[in-house]
Symmetry: C2
Subunit: 114 residues, 2 copies
């Protein structure tokens, strides 16, 4: 296994991290990035997830220190809030840099072979 | 589970397909997109993979009809060549559209909350 030593020369997908890149977790991080704090129910609706599925992915992100999950109440109703941590914002920024590089590289490659 | 009916309004990550989006497979499809046909050994080197890892991901892509895998010889040495199918080019184009939409959306969101 040998890969270009210089990160600049490495294929952009080598900079992707499965914890961030997995499509549901990428959706959670992206929505949390757009809002200071986001409600569990909103994430579930926006990403078309079940409670179990969303909870599993949130646990992976929380265990990796990428999001903070806080439980509280809105009136008498229990609510769960998700917020991006600084580490989460940096991890998402790295992911976006890699995705941008991949898209630019393929745009430069022109149309696919006929 | 309810998600916006209009695809335009759906979160970009909802358009991602795990078969394509998984980071090793995305790397394979992207490199195959840049070259008409690409050698197994080159993919292994460029993506820093083992034979087993690359073969497993190639099988997923081949079984999904996204790549064609051909075995031949270069001189007396056996070689395996990978090429994107038309379905593979379309699937990668859908992935790139979703990634572009995600990147644009987050660029528009401005800097992360302090």
């Amino acid at each position: 296994m040998n890969v270009a030593d210089d990160p600049e020369e490495q294929h952009p997908t080598l900079a992707l991290d499965d914890t961030v890149h997995q499509r549901v977790r990428l959706g959670i991080l992206a929505i949390a990035r757009e809002a200071e704090s986001v409600d569990f129910a909103f994430l579930k609706q926006e990403l078309g997830l079940t409670d179990g599925n969303l909870s599993r992915h949130l646990k992976v992100l929380e265990d990796s220190g990428l999001v903070a999950v806080n439980k509280g109440y809105a009136g008498r109703r229990p609510r769960t809030w998700v917020a991006l941590t600084a580490a989460g914002a940096e991890a998402l920024a790295r992911e976006l840099r890699a995705l941008r590089a991949l898209v630019h590289r393929l745009d430069a490659a022109g149309p696919p072979p006929a």
